[in-house]
């Protein structure tokens, strides 16, 4: 490259130049010995060192440069009169000069320079420095300040996704006298991306008062770029110390997940954020029914250019969002959801057939068939994963629907509430998301109605007037955790307990942990809105919420701290259609246990503890675990085998063993819902078809544990 040629040329000139400088330096030093106060001579020694240092670094001779730096530092102080010229100094500097010469020779392929000698010299030079070392900030050494270096990135590279920025740039009035042209900066800025520039001229005086060489204009800029905020700062690098510069991010790609549409902030909001209008003035202006912009201008609370600038911002962000949306839509197609359901069903059947194929292949022991089966299994599994992912949707759309709910509820109840969200991009099966709507509405309603206190109450309690409802979604293994938390009044366990006792749900003398008490909230018949909201609790139809969530094979959990707030956590399966299951056999019957609930399988050897009744205990490695004998539970006839298996399951910390004849193995299980006939069965959540065509029931393990624990 030409530029590198420039460096190479410079390099060869540098050797020549350094040679000359060193020769001059020698002469100057010798003269200085006779005239130690000659400022001119001192200056030329300093300059020679300075040039060698600077140019040396320029062309990559770092050792030369940093060694010379030491001498330069000393002579800078000599120049300032802080160090006298002595014979010692001159001797040392002459030695340094020879050393530099040797170093330069070495870098041109000569004898290597003597490093120890260099250290001796620098050591001795440092002794000359006044106490505390260095004057000035001379010894910032070689830590090149990356930030204050030259603005180098030029056009710069993309540093990720496109964001929009709001920039206000107000140069110092004297900017023209420093040779800067603000229009150049604006041009440079618009090269970074989609850019709207609005000049603000309100500071401009009349021709009689104007200083013709001063800059009165300042700018509002809205910029959408993928180059990052540092690229924007780089544009202003030479003027940022002397200008007013505010840069804010106003839109990011994931921002639209939260918004239902491509809508953006309201005009008033933008003006307040920019500091162009006071919140109070805005409130007052909003009271009149006219267009806010007009009112503000009429009342001279803001000038038209500011309004225009804010409108431009609105327009800009909307356009950017629309474009982004269009881009997203372009790369996708719409499919009617029944088609998708059908696809899932077909894949389900394929999975079933494939399981049969595997069985046949193994039993025939035909290598060719086994090989084919393995191929089919691989493809089926991929197809299944793909199909499932099509059904996955981000939960953000649901979240954003609640904004309106929160806003309206807060207004109706005269409370101040904001909703924040997190993890809007988290994906869940479409069906799960649809069925989640009602429970979430319920829970949010509860948070605002019973959780968040009225503004005055909050203030008195030392909390911000505005309460927060936070919605979050996060993956956790095969589940998604959805949390609804508020910073409201929280729930007093004692109040709940008293209420539950009163209702006869628990007996008064029973010891209960807070967790257990809170679980009473979900008990059917615990609450109606009236009774509970009177005692500050919640529980409006919480049993309904619980039933809903459980129908999605999920679970619900509530924690609360009095005065601090309440968090409800929903744990939901990623998908409803296919699960990983553990296949087990009792007699001729097959059962599937969701693998996510299975902890381990052990043999049940001892029958000594085998009393009668439903609840029995097994000792597994010293731990006592209650177990259920499924053969008995399901009234299956026939002989019990000598060795049975206990499948240890765990849900939310509660463990229970389920005894079966034999554990067959893991199995991809396509869930078929069962008709109304089976609705009353607590232990069964569905059925599946096995490889050989027989039906296996899917056990509802959480429910079984629950009834075992409470029953």
């Amino acid at each position: 490259m030409e530029e590198d040629q420039g460096l190479e040329r410079g390099k060869s000139v540098f050797f020549e130049e350094a040679g000359e400088l060193l020769a001059e330096l020698e002469d100057a030093l010798l003269e200085l010995e006779d005239a130690p106060d000659d400022q001119e001579l001192i200056g030329s020694v300093f300059r020679a060192m300075h040039t060698i240092k600077g140019s040396g670094a320029m062309f990559g001779f770092d050792e030369v440069s940093s060694f010379t730096h030491e001498v330069e530092t000393v002579f800078d102080l000599v120049r300032a009169g802080a160090i006298p010229v002595t014979k010692n100094l001159i001797d040392l500097t002459l030695a340094a000069r020879d050393q530099i010469m040797a170093m330069l020779d070495a870098s041109r392929g000569g004898e290597p320079a003597d490093d120890e000698r260099a250290e001796e010299i620098t050591g001795a030079l440092r002794m000359l420095l006044p106490r505390g070392g260095v004057g000035d900030e001379a010894d910032t050494g070689r830590v090149a300040g990356a930030d204050k270096g030259a603005p180098l990135s030029g056009a710069g590279e993309d540093v990720g996704e496109e964001s929009s920025y709001r920039i206000r740039f107000r140069p110092e009035p004297e900017i023209f006298s420093t040779g800067s042209n603000p229009l150049h900066l604006l041009n440079e800025l618009s090269e970074l991306g989609e850019c709207r520039i609005i000049a603000q001229t309100d500071a401009l005086p009349t021709i009689h008062e104007i200083d013709p060489e001063a800059c009165y204009i300042y700018w509002d800029i809205v910029l959408t770029t993928s180059k990052g905020i540092n690229a924007i700062r780089d544009v202003f690098i030479f003027v940022e110390d002397t200008s007013e510069l505010h840069i804010e991010v106003i839109d990011k790609p994931d921002a639209t997940d939260d918004e239902t549409e491509t809508e953006y902030k309201r005009l008033g909001e933008i003006l307040v954020e920019r500091g162009d209008v006071k919140p109070k003035d805005l409130e007052r202006a909003l009271e009149s029914q006219k267009r806010i912009g007009e009112v503000l201008v009429e009342q001279e609370l803001v000038n038209p250019a500011k309004i225009r600038s804010a409108l431009e911002e609105q327009r800009h962000v909307r356009t950017v969002r629309k474009k982004r949306k269009a881009k997203e839509t372009l790369s996708s197609i719409r499919v009617a959801s029944p088609k998708l359901d059908q696809l899932v069903n077909l894949v389900g059947e394929l999975v079933t057939v494939q399981a049969r194929l595997s069985q046949v292949a193994v039993s025939r022991n035909d290598p060719q068939l086994i090989f084919l089966d393995e191929e089919v299994e691989r493809l089926t599994s991929e197809l299944r994963g793909n199909t499932m992912s099509i059904r996955m949707l981000p939960i953000g759309t649901t979240f954003s629907k609640f904004r309106r709910l929160v806003r309206d509820l807060a207004r109706d109840l005269a409370k101040e509430v904001t909703m924040t969200t997190e993890g809007a991009e988290t994906e869940l099966d479409k069906t799960v998301i649809e069925k989640l709507n009602d429970p979430l509405v319920h829970l949010i309603r509860n948070s605002i109605d019973h959780g968040i206190e009225p503004p005055d109450v909050r203030e008195a309690a030392g909390k911000p007037r505005e309460g927060t409802v936070h919605l979050s979604a996060v993956h956790s293994g095969a589940h998604v955790l959805i949390r609804i938390s508020d910073d409201g009044a929280g729930i007093d366990p004692e109040v709940i307990r008293a209420k539950a006792v009163e209702k006869g749900l628990i007996s008064p003398d029973i010891e209960m942990s807070d967790k257990e008490i809170f679980s009473v909230l979900f008990a059917p018949g615990f609450s109606t809105a009236r009774t509970v909201s009177n005692v500050s609790g919640r529980g409006v139809g919480m049993d309904v919420v619980k039933t809903n969530v459980e129908s999605l094979r999920g679970s619900i959990d509530l924690t609360s701290e009095k005065g601090k707030g309440t968090t409800v956590t929903l744990k939901l399966p990623l998908t409803l259609a296919i699960i990983e299951g553990l296949l087990a056999r009792i007699g001729d019957e097959h059962y599937v246990l969701p693998l996510s609930t299975v902890e381990e399988c052990v043999e049940l050897v001892s029958r000594e503890s085998d009393g009668s009744g439903r609840r029995r205990l097994a000792n597994i490695r010293g731990e006592i675990i209650p177990y259920i004998h499924l053969r008995e539970q399901f009234h299956i006839g026939g002989e019990r085998p000598d060795i049975e298996q206990i499948v240890v399951t765990r849900v939310d910390g509660d463990r229970i063993g389920l005894v079966v004849d034999e554990v067959i193995g893991e199995q991809q299980t396509v869930i078929k819902t069962m008709g109304k006939l089976c609705n009353g069965l607590k232990e069964i959540s569905g059925a599946t078809i096995l490889g050989d065509g027989t039906v296996a029931l899917i056990l509802d393990v959480p429910n079984m544990i629950h009834s075992a624990m409470t029953g």
């Binding site: 030409e2 530029e3 590198d4 040629q5 420039g6 460096l7 040329r9 410079g10 390099k11 000139v13 540098f14 020549e16 130049e17 350094a18 200056g43 030329s44 300093f46 300059r47 300075h50 040039t51 240092k53 600077g54 140019s55 670094a57 320029m58 062309f59 990559g60 440069s65 730096h69 330069e72 530092t73 000035d136 900030e137 001379a138 010894d139 910032t140 050494g141 830590v143 090149a144 300040g145 204050k148 270096g149 030259a150 603005p151 180098l152 990135s153 030029g154 023209f176 006298s177 420093t178 040779g179 800067s180 042209n181 150049h184 041009n187 440079e188 690098i237 030479f238 110390d241 002397t242």
Partner: protein, 121 residues
């Protein structure tokens, strides 16, 4: 339109590198070996930008900047100073005297061009 840049530096090697780089990018270059030399060369054909070292004999960089800023012809011309990072206070002084920007030595040719492009457009 070819723009003319004056580069003032007492180091011939740095001047050489600057000049070569700028000429390669299509600029006309006038070289000066110190501040006074630079001033006299500014009197000749029109110059659009000045790149100056700070430590120079006769008239140093700060002095040069001040003189240029008080001239009628070049009061608003972009001036870039070449500094080393051990000269933070010098840089401030240069800014006060009216420098447009700076480049920290050592720099690479493309860094130089980026800055020139930035202030000259």
């Amino acid at each position: 339109m070819d723009k003319t840049i004056l580069t003032a530096d007492d180091s011939a090697s740095v001047r050489q590198m600057v000049a070569f780089t700028l000429k390669g990018a299509g600029y006309q270059v006038i070289e000066a070996s110190d501040g006074e030399d630079a001033l006299s060369k500014l009197d000749g054909s029109p110059v659009h930008m000045v790149i100056t070292d700070l430590n120079m004999p006769k008239l140093d960089g700060i002095g040069l900047i001040k003189r240029v800023r008080s001239s009628t012809k070049y009061r608003f011309i972009p001036i870039i100073m070449l500094t080393t990072e051990s000269q933070a206070s010098k840089k401030q002084e240069g800014r006060k005297a009216g420098a447009t920007g700076w480049i920290v030595k050592p720099f690479k040719p493309d860094q130089l061009l980026a800055v020139v492009k930035k202030v000259l457009r």
